[in-house]
């Protein structure tokens, strides 16, 4: 690997295939011209990590390219609307059982008031995503205002930090993706394997790249989140935390990488998941099953692309992650 290849590898880390190709092309052209003119062409390029940070802001990243087809081709699904309404009602009911202070309902209504709009006017264009950016900003100010009225500054600041943080991760990111797409940036539409959908192909690509130190960050975040939830509501989340930890340890310590063993492991995983969801009401925890079912639903959603990949790909082509 030449020093320029190393510079390019660092500068294009995390970018989508198309963005990385464009960076390689323009930097190679620049480098060739600089070499012809004499001087230290590589030193003149500067720090590749600084360039990478700047590129991620203006070119589609791998994660954004993964989100893009789901955003641009989003269709209104009656089943999805019904399901998310049911989950929303269940979630609010569950929260209502936990909190009994006067600010609960005004704050809950303010938090969820924008959700019905996304069912009928999903943010599928640059203009709509910009509108949602403003709408969510106003909603967050309203939530902070109500929290300040009932709880004072501390409550307002906690909720403000939480919701502005969430909107930075989701709403702002969605707007940024549309902005990049509007400038003519593209992402691959055709997966390498013709039987796979775009989302499945990108998910497979992500699984094939797994193993670096960076992948351990979301796992540690998940464990931190589960630990926090277990301390907060042990009856609901302790079985789920144990289930996740056991699964994590099993796949790292036991030889599960054959089709048969993998099937048994997955059967055991989902059986214990059901047990983990059913267990809390059995030992008398107050209405915690909604929380456990919501968490189980979340895990099922995470596992969904993996389930279809196992059906469509021959076992010989499975990456390690598909075995569990």
């Amino acid at each position: 690997m030449t020093p320029l290849d190393q510079w390019l590898a660092d500068a294009t880390r995390g970018l989508s295939a198309e963005s990385a190709a464009r960076v390689r092309e323009e930097i190679q052209q620049h480098y060739d011209s600089a070499c012809e003119a004499g001087g230290d062409a590589l030193a003149a390029l500067g720090n590749p990590r600084a360039a990478n940070r700047a590129y991620r802001k203006v070119l589609l990243t791998e994660q954004e390219a993964m989100m893009a087809p789901a955003l641009t081709q989003r269709k209104r699904s009656h089943r999805g609307v019904l399901l998310s309404s049911a989950l929303l009602v269940a979630f609010v009911w569950w929260l209502a059982g936990k909190h009994r202070y006067p600010g609960f309902w005004p704050i809950t209504v303010a938090i969820f008031c924008t959700i019905p709009f996304t069912w009928f006017f999903p943010p599928t264009t640059l203009e709509r995503s910009r509108i949602y950016l403003y709408v969510h900003g106003l909603r967050n100010i309203l939530v902070m205002g109500i929290a300040w009225w009932y709880d004072g500054w501390i409550g307002a600041l906690i909720l403000g930090a939480m919701f502005f943080g969430l909107d930075y991760v989701f709403t702002y990111r969605i707007w940024l993706i549309f902005r990049k797409l509007a400038a003519g940036q593209t992402y691959s539409l055709l997966p390498e394997e013709p039987q796979l959908t775009h989302v499945e192909a990108i998910y497979l690509n992500t699984l094939r790249k797994e193993g670096g130190a960076a992948e351990n960050v979301p796992v540690s975040m998940l464990f931190l989140m589960l630990a926090g939830m277990t301390v907060w509501m042990s009856a609901t989340f302790a079985p789920m935390a144990i289930w996740t930890a056991a699964g994590y340890l099993t796949r790292r310590t036991l030889p599960i990488y054959t089709e048969k063993r993998s099937r048994w492991l997955r059967i055991a995983r989902w059986t214990t998941m059901v047990v983990a969801a059913v267990l809390p009401p059995l030992y008398g925890a107050r209405a915690p099953w909604v929380g456990a079912v919501l968490l189980a639903w979340f895990f099922l959603l995470l596992d969904k692309p993996g389930i279809s990949l196992r059906r469509k790909l021959p076992v010989a082509e499975w990456p390690k992650r598909l075995y569990w």
Partner: protein, 103 residues
């Protein structure tokens, strides 16, 4: 000297008269400032892409000495942005000069 935040205006100025490619834009900025304004060339392209996102420049592929290159040209919105950048810089520079002269 690296004047943070002025690179977009300098890029727009460099391509105001005719479109150019990245390497030539970098060299022109360095030459016209007699080497005083120095920046890492790896950050030039993210700045060009940002201008493209904002609609102040457009890019297209061209050929120079048999080699394919990406050229950048200023748009109408880019000219307006450049005029605004020139005016703002004029005000800032006058104010800083006034303060430093008094000192």
């Amino acid at each position: 000297m690296n004047l943070r935040g002025t690179l977009p205006t300098l890029i727009l100025e460099a391509i105001e008269r005719h479109p150019d490619h990245g390497y030539s834009i970098a060299q022109r900025i360095k030459e016209r400032s007699s080497g005083v304004l120095d920046f890492k060339e790896g950050t030039l392209y993210p700045a060009l892409h940002k201008l493209e996102l904002e609609g102040t420049v457009e890019s297209y592929e061209g050929v120079e000495k048999g080699r394919t290159r990406r050229y950048y040209r200023i748009t109408k919105a880019g000219r307006a942005e450049l005029a605004k950048g020139r005016q703002e810089w004029g005000e800032v520079s006058r104010a800083v000069t006034l303060i430093l002269k008094k000192a």
